[in-house]
Symmetry: C2
Subunit: 232 residues, 2 copies
């Protein structure tokens, strides 16, 4: 899989954290199981050992916005550092997952004993913060079509596998999940995905979505360049 | 000024950090001065001692998205924790400001010597992330009118002063800044601000914008309630 700045930067952070964390007991969850949600809350930091976890923000009206898909060797649950934990976040196993867990009180204790862990966690949080910032930028300046293209590129980088023909296979990734990341309806995602397919940026098969990353990335960058030239 | 959960939670975090930070030299900036930007980058963590600082994300096309307005006793510059600092952030003094600064290498050193500082910084970053998460939720689920109302409530809470008639005076806050926070044009902000004024949610005078917080907040909550009922 082609690696990129964002993905490798995030990965190196997380490696750092892992090097300083003691082994903890593991818990397994079946596909579709809720790890925590508005009903239960959470007071722990989690490490994904196997599988993938969807982190969502539950809006006032009950709708869910997909914040991130966390993959093996990555952490989640950092809202537990807040002393009034937000009850608006949900973590769900989108396939069978295995997690390691540390109670937030133990984690704070560990941090005071292992100072390099503290620095690693600060870097991890700063990185999460940078990812959210890029997303706010995209929401504030781009329409659905470009937001969707950007999301496909990001998820193919993080969750895809490179095929022989140079395309990146993304699975499992439904239009429903994409719509909850991009902030639109499933119908609109389907419409643009069909358009991208006709333009040759992706293919479908029973095995998933196959994305032609370079072509889609070129399209996104060309349009940004054109916008920058226009604004000068 | 009426305090709220978000505002007081953020404040208590920041107090924590301050209690564990050593005094550092102060630097002054005039109104409109750039503290750091894509041209210069930054390798420091800053504390606002006096005045207010606007943090913006500079998009690919050169346009700027307002991320936060940082007020006295609050920190900024946490992107310096990334080992590849992002050059896409700008910090600008929106009035005369006085800052205390710590090089990121010194800060990492301090963290290893003062473990409670580490925990305080982790809480601060987790809080910043929670604020960004709420904003992503708003972008993904709400149209401009509601995003604008929410932004007015948030900034009046953070930057406003309570008047005798119960309204909150917000100054200095231009439509231009609001548009860069909400993710729309200045013209659209002006249109909705006029609508809010006609509906009695705010007044203008030469001294700034006077917001009737409770009325606007009721309007926002009623509509959320209606949406939740509709979705059930």
């Amino acid at each position: 899989m082609a690696s990129s700045t964002t993905s490798s930067a995030l990965y190196s952070r997380t490696e750092d954290v892992l090097a300083h964390l003691p082994v903890s007991g593991t818990t397994k969850y079946g596909k579709g199981a809720t790890i925590y949600g508005p009903e239960t809350g959470s007071n722990s930091i989690y490490l994904v050992v196997g599988g993938k976890v969807a982190i969502s923000q539950v809006a006032d009206d009950g709708s869910e916005v997909l914040l991130e898909i966390v993959r093996p060797d990555e952490l989640f649950g950092e809202t537990a550092f807040l002393d009034r934990p937000r009850r608006s976040e949900r973590a769900m196993a989108i396939e069978k997952v295995k997690l390691m867990t540390w109670a937030i009180s133990d984690m704070e204790d560990l941090v005071t004993k292992r100072p390099r862990l503290a620095v690693a966690l600060l870097q991890f949080l700063a990185n999460r913060n940078a990812v959210f910032t890029k997303r706010i930028e995209s929401f504030a300046t781009e329409k659905v079509e470009r937001r969707l293209a950007r999301s496909l590129l990001r998820f193919s980088e993080r969750l895809g596998s490179l095929e022989e023909d140079g395309s990146v296979r993304m699975t499992p990734f439904t239009h429903e999940m994409l719509s909850r990341y991009v902030g639109t309806t499933r119908e609109v995602v389907t419409e643009y995905m069909n358009r991208f397919r006709k333009q040759g940026y992706l293919n479908y098969s029973r095995d998933g979505i196959f994305l032609h990353r370079d072509a889609l990335s070129d399209w996104l960058n060309k349009r940004a360049l054109a916008a920058a030239e226009k604004s000068n």
